[in-house]
């Protein structure tokens, strides 16, 4: 019998980290083996035995005895002592870029939630301005990284040492578009418009002018126009060129959830059934995608679930379509997808612990 997997999370203090902790604490295959929580919390003395997780995330108190769980000071030795098999990094991009090669060297499997290893094309990666100390090692690591979208790369993820967990916006745009592009339906020369809207948790936990309640509440704003760093993921994973898509993110006055409205033109007129069939085939065997055959998805249907919801509507002539996709940016867009990747790696049912 396979031994129980020991997980660890670095970066549990953030929003995605908290969701990841919750999911792993309740995952039926990890029963009795809570994750190791390692990291740093500014201004708190971690040396003296760590900080109770419940003090950082009061909502997690009481869940599976997490009152006793502590955030401990990170060290490679700690991970070794505890016999960690799979390391989840919910860390800043730069830190993930630096730590992953070391983690792989030490035999850990890594599921990295940052943007550090998602992009294979160096030009796309330039937006992160990584300064790799050992460029050769970085290139070798990059070559091992698998883009962690199970609906596209299930087989490769199963054997991966390093899974680069996708961006939240990217997931919400790639899933509805890849099937149609792969089937050759879309007139790429005409181009695609992806108008995406995200809740504030996507902007992270650090208090800034833009995450202030007074900035976000009762408001809507576009940002990163022609310049958002998830664009590279879209291009590589959908398989299109930069001039074939315009992607515009907006900040929604809600805590969580993403809705992307996507506008495409088909090469030739389609029927609703035809397009639906392309989706059905592509997502056969993908338990975490829900196709909406009648209505359109809404953010509140997917929030607090790990589903990516997809619906669409054609114009009267069948040449143009509006596609709507929704997901929870902290679950299918981050922590839930990371657990889904763990399930794929371990050969467990893909939705285990995610329903």
């Amino acid at each position: 019998m396979k031994k129980t997997v020991q997980t660890a999370i670095v970066g549990v203090t953030g929003y995605a980290g908290a969701e990841l902790a919750r999911l792993l604490l309740h995952h039926p295959r990890l029963h009795g083996k809570p994750p190791v929580f390692a990291g740093r919390v500014e201004g708190k003395d971690l040396e003296r035995g760590g900080i109770p997780l419940a003090e950082i995330h009061p909502q997690l108190a009481g869940h599976d005895g997490s009152g006793n769980l502590k955030l401990e000071p990170f060290s490679w030795e700690l991970l070794a002592e505890r016999g960690v098999d799979v390391l989840f990094l919910a860390t800043p991009h730069e830190l993930s870029r630096e730590w992953v090669p070391e983690a792989l060297k030490r035999g850990l499997r890594v599921i990295d939630l940052s943007g550090a290893w998602r992009l294979t094309d160096g030009a796309n990666r330039a937006v992160y301005a990584f300064e790799d100390k050992d460029a050769e090692q970085a290139a070798a690591t990059q070559a091992q990284a698998i883009y962690g979208l199970p609906e596209l790369h299930r087989k490769q993820i199963a054997g991966a040492r390093l899974v680069a967990n996708p961006g939240c916006y990217a997931t919400s745009v790639i899933l509805p578009l890849r099937p149609l592009v792969a089937a050759g339906l879309i007139d790429l020369e005409h181009g695609i418009v992806a108008d995406a809207k995200s809740g504030v948790s996507g902007a992270g936990k650090v208090p800034t002018a833009k995450t202030h309640f007074m900035y976000a509440a009762d408001n809507l704003s576009a940002y990163g126009v022609f310049a958002h760093r998830h664009t590279g993921e879209l291009l590589e994973q959908i398989g299109i060129a930069s001039e074939q898509i315009v992607f515009t993110p907006h900040l929604l006055p809600i805590p969580r959830g993403i809705l992307s409205t996507i506008y495409v033109r088909f090469k030739k007129a389609q029927t609703r059934e035809c397009v639906a069939e392309v989706y059905r085939e592509f997502f056969a065997g993908s338990p975490m995608v829900r196709l909406y055959e009648k209505a359109l998805p809404q953010i509140q249907y997917s929030v607090h679930t790990n589903y990516a919801d997809i619906g669409f509507q054609l114009d009267a002539g069948g040449k143009r379509a509006v596609i709507v996709s929704c997901l929870d940016n902290l679950l299918k867009g981050a922590a839930g997808q990371a657990v889904q990747n763990l399930n794929v790696i371990e050969g467990w049912p893909e939705s285990e612990g995610l329903l």
Copy 2:
């Protein structure tokens, strides 16, 4: 000296009606002449002297003695007795369609906030399914109606007997697009995408499943895809054909405000300055449009003002642009625009009572 204008509002119980009441009560040129409030309120006995306005809209209590103002039962005689010059209709489309011919016959000027008279093309108007009892009279009335967007039709509004106040979504899409289309910049064959998002007040005051707090809060949903009835206004006022635009409205979890994100392709590459100059020229003399030269507008900048805010960004090649326009759907999108039209009709400064 011109005598003070006497106004009347029918439909003050709704959201736009309340804003209209507030604006007219404080309008410097109407000082001492509060509007006549006429209409019906279900289940209340209007016969016995009317209902205090402050009971319907507590927020209006105390403003200019409105504690004494009352909602009175509507009749043409009431309007005549009070010497009403200008009648504002914030009534359902069907009612406006029925009443306006009578109002004109009685010598009233009408500023109609409904969709009854906005569309000159019968095919576009079909979406409202009006059943005109006297088709000839309706056609004659329609021929007199001026689309009440001062930035486009200032001169005609000045002499109009009937002003058809524009839709809120329509205003937010026409203003940023008309100047560029008029200047011949946009590649119309390629088509335009207008992704619009509106606060809940746009859906009206009647409690429905979609205006329930639990439906709208923490949510975002697209609706009326390829089918919203403001589309006709867009086509007629921008001067484009149905297949040249896709317009998708969304319901935002905020009380008020609209943001439209508009995607266009230029016939040939443009510079930022070039596009800005087209806007500046078009809106010279339009005090209620603010051009954003550096940043992009956000909903909260325009809410509680009568401004339409417009900003844009070009891609690196100058061939594609993302245009963002914002306004308050109850002000520039309804009641504020109605007062702006009153100002134009009366020859007052266009922003009088609106700052």
Copy 3:
């Protein structure tokens, strides 16, 4: 081995019903036995095989194959055919009052989420104005009803045929007060103030003027002052008289969650430790109550959990205390508590399926 329990829900279309469906579908002890969903949905033809649950609650689609689950027309025969053991009623008060005697006669255990059977004192029950057709039968049924707050009545619930699931406000006020009153700490002559604030889901799914987004958003309002119908539950369960408490509910602009701020005066000065110890003893063995020893609870810590969170602060002299309690009105305040009661009845761990 005990056979798996078969549950049924009447009233799954509401907010509490949806949460109850979600909890029962994922309950580990009910695996493979989804609840029977019975009821009526206006304007839909239930006769032809029922309505997919996923059409009523899209967020539930895909959960444990609920795509195949249907809402079926209610009949006692349906429940009998399916071998239902435990019937959850998330129905209007009047309907529960009418149906429960029949259900008991047919040998069903009932967990009733309405207010129909919560009050033993007829004077308190007068607020509901029930018109019992068979007063004797109603009295007999009432005598069997156990108030379903496990933290107070665990033993009686275990053997109950009819559990009257508590009101959401009531739960949030009884839990923090009962231990202190039972211990004789509170100066009841001085009286208690309970200032409670609830999210909008507490007001139900029917669209009304007060559940309109425009009414609730960006607002706060007090209601039911000196007159809220949960008051009777407070009095009976805390064991105090009407003049010993003032309870004021408020409508919060959030979807879910209740926070009650409770003001008490002690008979004699207390220390923090003393009060904490009273709580610890009372709630020993109550896994769904979390005591906050340092900070105060907040709504967002308890939302989407079944916990009741309690914290407090004393003034410098130790004579006055402010107690803060939080819970999710749809979980610990309704559906979660109902499942907790099921667990108690069946002898399962009290938090089973609730973490």
Copy 4:
């Protein structure tokens, strides 16, 4: 004819400052004399002619030509050059404490929005921990300060050199309580409970963990229990002792507005009419207080107005009352009240520029 007053604002970058700028720019008695805006903005070079106000507060662009208005580097010389008569300070408490004596020495009238000069009792003031360099001068300045609540101190404000503008919470608790305490109705020995709830703008513009959207949204939290620094103002202005009131503030998930629910016991039973009459008499001649004779006020009725709204309900016996007061924390709770004080000082109608 009296010359037009020249105002200046220091601290226009904050929320109250922005509202104050808006009010003064549109004040009919200040027409053509915009305020001088002086201060510091970090990281911006103010030396080179200042920053456009519209860049700091885009919503103010276009209002009365504010596009040309600039934030200039503060100096006493600047104020002298521009002939400033009245100086509004929307600055941190410590800065106001330091600057006001100098301003008075230079002959300026000061309306200070901070907490620096509100408290006459040194013990109450201790919470601010001011370190006055010149204690004698500070005492002399304090002796001149008038608490700027016109409804209580209209006459003294009229002649004041220094007006200490009240706290927002304080205003919402003092106005409903002072009339009843002055009339001797309240049983003070029994004590008062003031449960207050405020929108997030009350917490200021600096991004912190508590003003993060994710902290405040969908949440409610109590804070400053038995320790909020507005308590001193309550005691001094209502005229009660510390043990006679419990005041608990809460953070509401809305941008602006305060609702205070206040619980009192009367010495002897009262009628509704009796209590109403006490209020009517006290607030006769106070145009910015609205008494609710039938319903209770709600936050949304007062937001975006300068009104303080007061309503109440008695229990059946007439011995206990729940009083509800609402106001906009940035207007009647800050900037609007400051303008009201200006009106009183200048002898203008008290609501001038505030409707």
